[in-house]
């Protein structure tokens, strides 16, 4: 009846069909989310933008994603992944078309800001894939979903410049190129609604238990958890400040204050959710068997901050970086070179998981983070005098460590507290976005090479943190040479 291993070509299996449907939905969200990055010079030219304004645009793109994750999570609880993914694709398709037809920088910024919502699509598919695959396949299935979906940013960098310049022609080519991704997402949203199903036919439901926030198991951890939520809002506040008259001047004083207000309300809302989930624990304490250390979660959060966060940030600026550093590159070529970074997703993420299983979890993660620190250090040294090929190789090596690091983080997530895997994964993912906003906000202040150095420096800090992580327990059984399943004695 069911296959032991994942056979991706077996379209007769509803679960495989669902996986393909879902990863492609995620892929499209990523295409839309990063469709602007490889078209930088065209867009800047059309609106006669300053570099400052462009960097603000990049940051705006990831800002809304942080609160959007919370909202999407609630919507998925209420309406199920099928409806929410279709809705997200339809809406973001429309916003994307609006972005493509923007007539002023203000409109452009507004629609980019709204497109931040599309970055929260990841959460929806994770839920869907989780429902469709048994435990032995779900890790691989979610790896494919995440990896192939993330590849969408590479696809955008790879194809959109050619599409804009060659197919549609120069003048408004970028508008048509971006607009066509919006149309594609819109149409796919309709297809998704008709083809996808929330759960396998006839699967049994149990009422979901607590949701809305992470359950922690001691008062100390509760404080720790609250503190860990603050950076998300602080960085958004910094971004709002940057956009205020004190910074780029995109927002008026009133709007800026309104933003601060919205952030406070959001924070209060999240606080109430966290309190709701943990009220019993705070009153009565957590049962002994249920205890886990929040420290582990926090460390993984920061590890994802520096890995996935830097990936999102770098993917947004890399095509332009190539174009500006090396003379004589066409826009399409720069886009393709820039996509080299995200290309590694296909192999790097799974390798990270594999390393982690094979060589110990803390060890693997440490090595990968050192690797990415060195990688970014190297990137900061790239100048016009480098051969382009060498620069591309450096980028690919660096991105291998970054994405393998992401894989290693998610190989540890389910081992912290099995019951709460979803919640821990959600918070870790959110920190990836915090990383993106942080790095891109920093990018608005500094030069490209300092930007890379900054990421390398944060990686070193995270390396130190990872040393405080406790090696999670792995398997409790093994199979001997005769095929007998035996318990491993844990001393």
């Amino acid at each position: 009846m069911s296959n032991e291993r994942l056979n991706l070509a077996d379209f007769s299996q509803p679960s495989i069909r669902t996986l393909h449907l879902t990863w492609f939905a995620f892929f499209l969200t990523f295409v839309i989310w990063f469709s602007h990055a490889p078209l930088k010079p065209l867009i800047m030219e059309t609106f006669d933008m300053s570099i400052e304004q462009w960097k603000a645009l990049l940051t705006l793109n990831v800002a809304l994603t942080i609160p959007a994750r919370i909202i999407i999570g609630i919507l998925v609880d209420k309406f199920g992944p099928r409806l929410v993914y279709s809705g997200l694709l339809l809406l973001s398709g429309l916003v994307c078309i609006a972005f493509a037809s923007a007539q002023s920088f203000e409109q452009l910024a507004l629609f980019r800001f709204l497109l931040g919502f599309v970055g929260a699509g990841f959460v929806i598919g994770i839920r869907m894939v989780g429902e469709w695959f048994p435990a032995r396949q779900v890790g691989l299935a979610e790896g494919i979903y995440g990896g192939w979906g993330n590849f969408g940013s590479a696809a955008a960098a790879f194809m959109l410049p050619s599409l804009a310049l060659v197919i549609f022609g120069e003048d408004n080519g970028w508008r048509y190129a971006i607009g066509s991704t919006g149309v594609a997402a819109f149409l796919y949203g309709i297809l998704f609604y008709f083809k996808a199903r929330n759960t396998p036919k006839g699967s049994t439901y149990f009422k979901p238990k607590k949701s809305g926030g992470l359950e922690v198991t001691s008062q100390k951890d509760f404080i720790f958890y609250l503190l860990m939520n603050i950076p998300m809002y602080v960085i958004l506040a910094v971004l709002a400040w940057k956009l205020s008259p004190a910074g780029v001047g995109l927002l008026t004083v009133t709007t800026t204050n309104l933003m601060y207000g919205v952030l406070i309300v959001l924070f209060a809302f999240q606080l109430s959710q966290i309190l709701k989930v943990n009220r019993d624990m705070l009153k009565q304490g957590a049962p002994e068997h249920d205890k886990y250390k929040f420290k582990q979660v926090a460390i993984l959060n920061w590890a994802y901050f520096v890995t996935f966060g830097s990936e999102l940030a770098v993917v947004s600026m890399l095509p332009a970086f190539f174009l500006e550093t090396f003379d004589g590159l066409s826009l399409a070529q720069a886009g393709m070179l820039g996509s080299a970074y995200a290309f590694m997703n296909l192999v790097a993420r799974p390798s990270g998981g594999w390393f982690s299983d094979k060589f110990g979890r803390r060890m693997s993660l440490s090595i990968l983070i050192v690797g990415l620190a060195i990688g970014y250090l190297v990137l900061s040294q790239i100048t016009a005098s480098w051969p382009i090929a060498l620069a591309v190789i450096a980028v690919m090596c660096c991105s291998f460590f970054v994405q393998a690091g992401e894989g290693a983080v998610f190989a540890i997530v389910p081992l912290i507290k099995r019951r709460m895997t979803g919640q821990i994964a959600g918070m870790t993912g959110a920190y990836g976005n915090v990383g993106a906003v942080t790095f891109l906000t920093a990018f608005t202040f500094v030069s490209t090479s300092t930007f890379f150095l900054l990421i390398a420096a944060s990686a070193v800090a995270v390396f130190v943190m990872v040393q405080f992580m406790e090696e999670p327990q792995g398997h409790t059984a093994e199979v001997d040479d005769n095929g007998n399943v035996q318990l491993i004695e844990i001393s």
Partner: protein, 572 residues
């Protein structure tokens, strides 16, 4: 595996004494039983007091037989049963026996007795009562009488018992259910004591004397006060609530580790994996063979739930339930010789699931569909007799084998006897499967055997038509009003071979409101096989019944026309 995780060590102090007093014969009977281990968890402990009615000649036999009979039989009832059902069943049969004894005796000796039982299970007190013995509760220095004397006064001095065990073939039993608090003390007495001693004295002894002295003290005081009857008194004191600490429960539940993913050829406790039959987000099912080459099905839990006690409890109970059901239509559970890991074994039933059968052959022959319904209903009745709701009847859980339909999954069952035991973790509440579970699961109505009846009827309908009786909208409905808006689509409409009367039976079993369905499953089965004349008139039922909305709309439309016509003619 079973309910070990719900066991607790019980702290209870019981003192009891019965005395003939000034009478020659002691016609009172008292008894208490505190079982061990899982029986205590499943059934609780019991105190029983009975006072043979002295006007009856076999008073002593009657009271003794009731007390010993109850204490034996109550603890032999299925452990899936609730306390209420168990005790009432046992009392009813004792009553019939006593009544029968009285009837058959040549001189017509009466076997009459009062009967009061106190059962404490988990943290709930259950009281069963007939006659004028009494149960009091002493809590926070307050004495409260929990029972009502079943007596009728003829005059101030004269009164007689209006209810007693053995008086009639049918018996009305008072039942009360109360919560238990730490420090509660219960006092059971016969009228030899409470008729002569004022409440004040009972209160005083309970609050001042050491508990072990109270029975003797009260009996002496009653004798001093001139009691001429037999005197019996029982005391049960519960210093603390029974609580299985979450740690103990989890330890018991997680004693066995989850097995890893198994590959073909792997051996677990000597069982070799032949192939994976099915894997879902919640569990894996393997076909395995033992050393003798016999084939079994092995179900293993999904590592997704490794630290979820509610899931593990459900998993463990699945085997516990399967091993308690005897029916050819229910899969049999096997206990493995040794068990190093958490899994359970059942007989392997070769055959397709009903889901596959429907997929390949729907619509099924009406006769076959009825046969499968009947076999599944047999399995359901076996469950219902054990006060267990299946809650997830669906085609994927039914295997069509040579011996007919066999029910294979018990992962969502609601067992009355288990629900009564409080667990130190939040239990899962099953919502079943959207297409097949009855509406009350989603609008949070009360669940009953009729909920399983609904699911069974959905399957019967699907077998005959290949469709859902309420169409695709059924899975989206959430509230009762959503469900009421849905329209039942006649099975005859999809499959003309389904007779009208059969469609009528399906329609009734598929009623949105449980009270409109069949009272018992057998009536449904009867109507599936015998044309019910009521259902042949279904087409003649008025539009008001079939589609009230359309009826009122049409009525309003006609009115509008009449008004318009009137206006037209009058204005002219």
């Amino acid at each position: 595996m079973g309910i070990e995780h719900l066991q607790s060590t019980l702290d209870v102090e019981i003192h009891q004494l019965s005395d003939a007093g000034r009478k020659e014969e002691n016609q009172d009977a008292i008894g208490a039983r505190v079982p061990d281990g899982s029986l205590l968890a499943a059934k609780g402990f019991a105190l029983v007091i009975a006072d043979g009615v002295s006007a009856a000649e076999a008073a002593r036999e009657a009271s003794q037989a009731s007390v010993t009979g109850f204490l034996t039989d109550y603890f032999s009832t299925p452990d899936t049963w609730s306390v209420k059902r168990s005790a009432l069943k046992v009392m009813q049969s004792l009553n019939r026996w006593l009544y029968g004894q009285g009837q058959s005796h040549i001189q017509g000796r009466g076997f009459l007795t009062t009967f009061s039982a106190l059962i404490i299970k988990s943290n709930t007190v259950h009281i069963f009562h007939v006659g004028d013995s009494r149960i009091y509760r002493f809590r926070h220095q307050q004495l409260e009488l929990l029972t009502t004397d079943h007596t009728r006064h003829l005059s101030k001095k004269q009164f007689y018992l209006s209810r007693a065990m053995g008086a009639d073939a049918t018996l009305d039993i008072d039942y009360r259910c109360l919560d238990l608090q730490a420090g509660d003390c219960f006092l059971l007495t016969t009228d030899g004591i409470h008729d002569v001693l004022p409440n004040r004295m009972l209160h005083q002894s309970l609050s001042e004397l050491p508990r072990s002295d109270i029975p003797q003290y009260l009996i002496n005081k009653a004798l001093d006060a001139g009691s001429s009857d037999n005197l019996s008194c029982q005391i049960a004191y519960i210093p603390q609530l029974q609580s299985v600490s979450d740690q103990e429960a989890f330890k018991a539940l997680s004693e066995l580790p989850f097995p890893p993913d198994l590959d073909v050829g792997n051996r677990l406790d000597g069982y070799e994996v032949i192939r994976l039959l099915h894997a879902s987000e919640r569990s894996q099912l393997y076909l395995v063979k033992d050393v003798n080459g016999r084939r079994w099905a092995m179900k293993t839990p999904s590592v997704n739930y490794q630290d979820d006690p509610a899931y593990i409890e459900r998993f463990v109970l699945e085997e516990w339930i399967a091993s308690r059901m005897r029916s050819t239509n229910i899969v049999r559970a096997i206990t493995p010789v040794q068990r190093q890991f958490l899994y359970y074994l059942t007989e392997y039933i070769p055959g397709q699931t009903l889901e596959q059968v429907i997929h390949e052959r729907s619509p099924l022959d009406v006769k076959d569909a009825i046969a499968i319904t009947e076999q599944t209903a047999k399995a359901l009745r076996a469950l219902h007799q054990k006060e267990t709701l299946h809650q997830d009847i669906k085609p994927a859980n039914i295997i069509i084998s040579k011996q007919g339909a066999v029910l294979i999954d018990f992962g969502s069952c609601l067992v009355a006897g288990i629900e009564e035991i409080s667990a130190p973790f939040q239990r899962d509440s099953a919502l079943g499967t959207a297409e097949y579970s009855a509406p009350e699961y989603r609008y949070q109505g009360p669940r009953s055997e009729r909920s399983d009846q609904f699911s069974l009827a959905v399957i019967t309908y699907e077998m005959m038509t290949g469709h859902h009786p309420y169409g695709a909208g059924y899975t989206k409905a959430k509230s009762l009003s959503d469900f009421i808006k849905l329209n039942y689509q006649s099975a005859t409409h999809h499959n003309p071979l389904v007779p009208l009367w059969l469609d009528g039976a399906l329609n009734k079993a598929l009623s949105i409101k449980p009270e409109h369905r069949y009272e018992v499953l057998s009536e449904f089965l009867f109507d599936l096989k015998q044309p019910n004349p009521n259902f042949n008139r279904i087409n003649q039922s008025s539009l008001l019944d079939r589609n009230p909305l359309r009826f009122w709309q049409s009525l309003a439309a006609i009115q509008v026309l009449i008004i318009l016509a009137l206006i037209y003619f009058l204005i002219d």
